[in-house]
Amino acid sequence: MDALICVGGILLVFVLIIFFYLLNTARKKVAPANTLGKKDYLPIYISLADKPQSIMQGMDKLKVDVIKTEQAGDKWRWVPMIIFFVGVGLMFIDLFLMAFGYISFIFIAGGIALWIAAIVMARGLRKSDLYDFSPRYNGTKSILHTLRDDLRPNTTYLGHLDLTGALLSTKVARTSKDTQDRTTEYFRDEWLVLKAKLYDGNILRVSAIQKSKKRKSYWKRSRISGKMKSKPEKFKGTEHDLKVRIIANPEVYTITRTSPNFKQGLNIGKFTVSQLSTEGGIISFVASSPFEEVEHENILQVIQSAYSLLQRKAA
C-alpha cells in the first residue's frame, strides 16, 4: 500500500509538472527575470551602414516580423492543453473499464502518447516565443530619426546597435580577485556605436558603453555548520559612459574653450560630463551616468549641449 501511494505520488507530481508546463505555455507566462534579477530582452545585433530611412524601415520591419512570428504561435497556444485533456479523456476510458472489472491499459498508453505529443507541440510553440524588444531599440531608432535631417545628403549612418546583452562572457573586459579569492568580472558593453557625417560638415561619433560589475558564484565554508555552501553570483552595479567626438568643420565653426551650457562636471539629464577636450579642432568628451538605463532623450540632450561649444563663423 505504501509503495502504491509512493508511486501514485510520483506519478501525480509528473502529471502536475506536465499540466503546469502546458498551462504556462497556453497563458504565455512572461519569462521570469534571470539569475541576476534582470529582465531578458530580445538579443539583436544590427550593423548600421545605410541611409536613415532605410535603417528605420528595416528596424520597423524586424519588429513586425517578430510580432508576426509571435502572433502566429499565440493562435495555437491552447492546443497542447486541449491535447492534454483529450489524453486525460482517453485515460478515463480505461479507468471506466477498470471500474467494471476489465483490465485495460491501451487507452492509458494512448493518453500518455498524446501527452508526449502535447509537450512536443508546446516546445515548438515556445520556440516561437521571443523576448520583448529592449527600450534601447526604440531609443536608438528615435536618435536616428532625430538626427536624420542633420545628415549630409547621400551619406549613411555607420556603426552598430548591439543588444545581445551586457553580461555576456565575450564582453568581460577584465577580471579581478579579492582577498577571499572571489572573482569579480568587469563587463564593457559598447551597445551603440554611431558615426555620421553631418550636413554642416562636422563628423559625429557617438559610443554608448555600459560598464557592469558582477561577482561570480563561489563556495564558502559555513562558520556555524562547517558545511561547504555555494554562494550565488551577485550583480555589483552598472554605469553608463557616453563617449562623443565631434570633428568640427573648420570652414564653418570655431570651437570655444568654455561654455556655460557645456563644461566638465556639468550635469545634463542623467549624465555628468566627466572628461572634456577641445584640442585640435575636435570636441571629445565622456559623459558618465550612474544609472543602469539611459534614455535616448538624455543622449540627444548631451549632444545638443556639446554643440554649444561650436560657434558659427561669420559668413
Binding site: 530580445l42 539583436i44 545585433y45 544590427i46 550593423s47 548600421l48 551602414a49 545605410d50 541611409k51 532605410s54 535603417i55 528595416g58 528596424m59 524586424l62 516580423d65 517578430v66 508576426k68 512570428t69 502566429a72 495555437w76 492546443v79 491535447i83 483529450v86 482517453l90 473499464l97 467494471f100 472489472g101 476489465y102 483490465i103 485495460s104 491501451i106 487507452f107 498508453a109 494512448g110 502518447a113 498524446l114 505529443a117 507541440m121 515548438g124 510553440l125 520556440k127 516561437s128 521571443l130 547621400n154 551619406t155 549613411t156 555607420l158 556603426g159 552598430h160 565575450t170 564582453k171 568581460v172 573586459a173 577584465r174 563587463f187 564593457r188 559598447e190 556605436v193 558615426k195 557625417k197
Partner: protein
Amino acid sequence: MSRKIIPFIVAFVLVCLVMVVSGVFAFSGAVTAEKFGGSVIWSQPYSTAESMKVINLMGDEQDELFIQNTSNVTLFDGSGNTLLSQDYQYPKTTLGDVNGDNKEDIVVFYLGDLGYSVDVISDGNIKTLAQNLSIGLPARVIVLRFAAGPQIVLGDSSGGLLSLNLSGQPVWTYSVGSEEIRGMDDALIGGKMHLAVASHDGWVAVLDSEGKAVWNTNQEALRRMRAFDLNSDGNSEIITGGEYGAHFVYNAVDGSQMYTQGMGQAVSEVRVVELNGEPSSREFVVGGKDGGVWAFSFDGTTAKQMWSGSLSDKVTEISGIDIDGDGTEEAVVGDESGNVAVFTGNGTRNNLDSHSTGIMRIDVGKLNGERYVVIADGSTVDVNKINFSSIPGFQYTPLVVGVIISAVILIIAAILVSIPKKPELKVSFQDKSKESLAAERRMLKESIADVERLRKAGEVTGDAYLARLKRLRGDLADNEAAFKTAGFPIKVETIQCPNCGGTLELGMDKCEYCGQVLLS
C-alpha cells in the same frame, strides 16, 4: 521549402510507426478486455484438504466430489450432500480402478488398528485390501497399471516403497533415500508404464514393474515431483522443484537433465496446464514459496519460459481450467493467503474472490451436469460457477487509439508548419553604393583601431578583445564581399581561418582565435 516539408515527413514517419505498433497490438490479440468472476453455488465445511477430485465414484451417471484431509475421506454429491464420510488415521489416497469394473475406486493407505492398512472404496462400499503391512507412516499411494498387471504402490515417510498386487499381497519393496516420499507418479518409457518416485532428501528414481530402478539420481532437497509426457512421444518428462529453488526437467528414459533453472525461491507446486491450445505439446506452470508463478513450454528437447507472474504468498495449488471455453486452459493459482488468480495464456492476471484461509486444492468438473470450479481452502470447500466476459471487438481498440494519435500528430505538424520562421536577429542594414561601402570600411577600420587602443590601454583584455575583434573583422569581410558583389574594385585585406572560420587580417601567421598556423 524544407521548413514546410520536414515536419510533415517526420509526422508521416511517426504516424506510420504508431499505426504499425497499433496494428501489431490489434492483430496479435494482445489487447483484450476480459474479466473473470465467480459465484459460490454451495459450500461445505471441510478443513485442510490434501486431495480433491471431481469424478464419478458411485457408479451412477453423475460425478461426485471426492475430498480427503489428514483424518477423513468424504464424498459429496453434486448438490453438496454427503454420500460418504469415513475417518482414518494418517490417510493418503489415490484414485484408480482396482476391481476391474472400469470405474475409479478410492484407495486409502492409512494407519489402522492392525497397523498400516489399505482400504478400497468402490461405489461407496469400503473393503480392506491389506493390513499389518511392513511399511512406515503413509506419505503417498498410487495405483499403476503396469503391462504385467496393476499394482498399488505405497510410499512412507522414510523413503520406503511397498508394492501390492490387487489382492493386497506384497510384490516388491524399494527404498528411495531416507526421508519422506514427496512425489509418486506414473512415467512412460517407450509407451510402457513405470513408476517415478522422489523423496524429500533429493533422490529421484524411475522403477519398473518389478521394483527395479531404471535409473536414479540425487539433487538438492526436494519439495515436488511430477511426471508428464509433455510432448506425447511415449516418454515422460520428470519435473522436480527443490527446497532452494532448483528446478529440473529429467528425461524419464535415462534420467538425463533436459532443462534446469534456479527459481530463486523454493518450488512449492508444479502442474501441467494446456496454456497455448496446441495439443501436441503441453505446458507446465511452476509455483514458488514466495508467490512466484512461471509458465514453461516444452519443445521435446528443452523447456522455455513463456511468462512469469506472482501472487502475494506461497503458491499452494495450480490447476489448469478452460474457463472461457476457447480450447486453451487458464492457470488458476491459489496461495497461502487465500488469493485465487487466473493467469491467461499470455500471463495476464485476473483475480477471483479471495478466501479467508489458504487455498488447499482447486479442481474443475461437472456436478449435476454443470461445469464448476471447486476450491478447497483451510476450512471449507466451495463449489463455484466461474464466468468469463469480454468486450467484443476490443482487440481492435489499438487501431482506434492509433488513428487518434496519428490525427493529433498531423494536426501538430500542420500547426508548427504554419508558424513563420523566427526572424534573423543579427541583421545588417547596408547601402550598396560605393561611397557608402567605403565609408563603412573606414568606420570598421577605425573601430578595429579603437579596440586595439583599448587593449593597449588595458581597458579590454582576453576574450572580450578577441570577440570584439572577431566581430569587426567579420563585418570587414562582409564589407569586402559587398564590394565584390556590387562589382567595385577592392583590395582584399581579410582571410578566413581554415580551422575555426574566424576572419583574420591578411598576412597573419597564426589564428588569434584557435591558434591554427596559417600558410598564406
